[in-house]
């Protein structure tokens, strides 16, 4: 276990080495949130609520969804693809650890870094500029924290899957881009799932994407409370477990078929 914790620390240090990159990131995220804030304010117009959400809930939803994204979002899919492409995965295989767990830990190190140096200061800026509604309910914060951790796990699992597909295709750039877009769209980052047409909502109920952004954000805005919140987190937990199966199978197949390029 110590080695995995050390890896989190290591990635944290690496991010710290390039921390200046992140000051511009805060700015970009703030602009994104601002744009959606004004967009939704305009859409709401005089209406007090749409689909059961007030305008305050909606704008808070947007802000928290983006800030949570900074935590769960990582590039380990791209890194895995790259390490396969230039053969660096060979070195990873001569280490006495599980490559996929190590990658997830790197993602976590990155996530913690962004949470501290990105989400928190970013949130502070955003609350000064826009009127957002933060709950003081301790339960909500607790649920939200747990839910965000689960969304990190699911997002990382999907990244591992996407990255590993490059074991078979050896070039998955297009696929990775498509995956990123699908997650942004279907996770509820851009539009809450409750705004999608009935049939689409139905389909998405069988997919893991809403566990990434929609559920934690709805919990935070208290659109999901009590049983609904717990059901949401159950949904996340089930996907966490279910996704282990394809990861395990794909990793097994990938190891068998491993081709080290450029060696």
């Amino acid at each position: 276990m110590a080695k995995y914790i050390e890896m989190i620390r290591m990635r944290f240090l690496m991010m710290l080495a390039y921390r200046t990159n992140y000051y511009s990131g805060i700015f970009i995220y703030s602009i994104n949130i601002g744009a959606y804030y004004f967009l939704w304010s305009a859409i709401y117009g005089g209406q007090s609520s749409i689909q059961g959400m007030t305008v305050e809930q909606m704008t808070t939803y947007v802000a928290i969804a983006w800030m949570a994204r900074a935590f769960y979002f990582n590039n380990i899919d791209r890194e895995i693809a790259m390490e396969i492409r230039d053969g660096k995965v060979a070195i990873e295989l001569i280490r006495p650890y599980n490559y996929l767990v190590m990658k997830t830990m790197q993602g976590l190190g990155e996530g913690i870094f962004r949470l501290i140096f990105f989400s928190l200061p970013g949130m502070l800026i955003v609350t000064f500029v826009f009127s957002l509604q933060f709950t003081t309910n301790v339960h909500t914060w607790g649920y939200f924290t747990l839910s965000t951790i689960l969304s990190f796990i699911i997002n990382s699992q999907l990244n591992l899957l996407a990255g590993m597909v490059t074991f078979f295709t050896l070039n998955g750039e297009g696929l990775l881009r498509a995956k990123r877009f699908i997650i942004d769209l279907f996770s509820g980052l851009i539009l809450p799932i409750s705004f999608y047409p009935e049939w689409a909502q139905h389909v998405m109920h069988y997919l893991p994407f809403q566990a990434i952004s929609y559920i934690p954000s709805m919990i935070f805005t208290e659109s999901f409370t009590g049983d609904v919140a717990i059901k949401g987190m159950m949904f996340q937990a089930v996907w966490c477990v279910v996704l282990i199966v394809p990861i395990y199978l794909l990793w097994k197949a990938a190891k068998r078929k491993l081709i080290i390029q450029g060696g």
């Binding site: 660096k88 001569i94 006495p96 650890y97 491993l258």
Partner: protein, 331 residues
């Protein structure tokens, strides 16, 4: 007990070839041409604990592929591999704990952060106790003279500095078996000497087995008593370096510098050996067997006036080149 046992090891790759032109590219979408390439072709050898073995061959001879199979990165197509008493691929996590690997062309340190952070992570990864680490690594760091480099990020190191750190990183868990894949590539003479010195030292101190691939024959001469030579996936020579030199490097080259112009025919009629022209027609090189040396020199000296003469031994490099060019079947 052998450190490495390999029996009829084989690795085949599928190699795809693309058709030419747009129509060809279109056809490639549906069916692709490929052929099976045998990178390693039924090789067998064993290495004893504490041996230093040079594993040599031209580019593409199958050296790296073999090393990858021995380290458990690649699965063999067929054959048996037992390294440190384990099957590298089957018991990967337990197995890699007992080996150290350096790939000369690929860094295993973390590029953006200080060297000591990489060391610290590896120490945790290999579960090395503080006591063992200090005892062993203090010595390694001192011998390789990398103490002042530890707090620098890897990207700021020169190749020679980085390579010494790589070597130290591979030794953190003090493995009984060390694989070095071109560890001295692109390094200057001083760094090379330091690395060789160090490898000899750990071999003596810990009885570490070392399997080394390199294109630099001076590495092999300095370190290895035994060489395994590979060509097109097959072992063409496995034995002592001494033996190799005696059998194929027996000849000497005598370089004569004459005072007057001499033709090849004249020389050939004088003594019947292979003559090769030097820079101009004043300079001629005779390729002779060691036993005939005195005879050849005597004849030439008695018939011509000479400005200079020197005798050169055939270098290992040349021996190897000759073997590749002409094959090993004679000699």
């Amino acid at each position: 007990m052998y450190a490495i046992e390999v029996e009829k090891l084989r690795k085949e790759f599928k190699s795809y070839s693309s058709r030419s032109g747009l129509a060809g590219a279109f056809r490639d979408l549906f069916t692709r041409n490929y052929k099976i390439i045998r990178a390693v072709d039924d090789i067998s050898f064993t290495v004893k604990q504490g041996e230093m073995v040079g594993y040599i061959g031209e580019n593409g001879a199958g050296k790296s592929t073999t090393i990858k199979m021995l380290t458990g990165i690649l699965t063999p197509t067929s054959g048996r591999v037992v390294v440190n008493g384990m099957n590298p691929h089957k018991e990967r996590e337990r197995f890699v704990q007992t080996i150290g690997v350096v790939f000369g062309q690929r860094s295993q340190l973390w590029w953006d952060i200080a060297v000591q952070e990489s060391f610290r992570l590896l120490k945790k990864v290999y579960r090395v106790s503080d006591q063992d680490y200090n005892e062993h690594m203090d010595h390694v760091i001192e011998t390789l003279d990398i103490g002042p480099l530890l707090d620098k990020p890897v990207r700021k190191l020169s190749l020679g500095q980085r390579m010494r750190c790589e070597l130290a990183a591979a030794l953190i868990h003090n493995p009984p078996l060390l694989f070095l894949d071109e560890p001295t590539i692109g390094l200057d003479v001083l760094v090379k000497l330091k690395i060789r010195q160090f490898l000899k030292e750990i071999n003596e101190k810990y009885n570490t087995t070392i399997l080394l691939t390199t294109h630099d024959m001076t590495d092999i001469e300095a370190l290895c008593e035994r060489v395994i030579m590979l060509d097109e996936g097959k072992i063409i020579y496995d034995g002592s370096l001494q033996h190799l030199k005696q059998n194929w490097g027996e000849g000497k080259q005598i370089h004569f510098q004459f005072r007057d112009l001499v033709s090849k025919e004249e020389l050939a009629s004088l003594v019947h050996v292979t003559w090769e022209q030097g820079e101009d027609r004043y300079n001629w090189i005779a390729h002779v067997r060691a036993n005939d040396m005195a005879h050849v020199i005597g004849k030439v000296v008695s018939s011509y006036e000479l400005k200079d003469i020197h005798i050169r031994e055939v270098s290992t490099e040349e021996i190897i080149r000759n073997i590749y060019e002409e094959g090993i079947h004679y000699g």
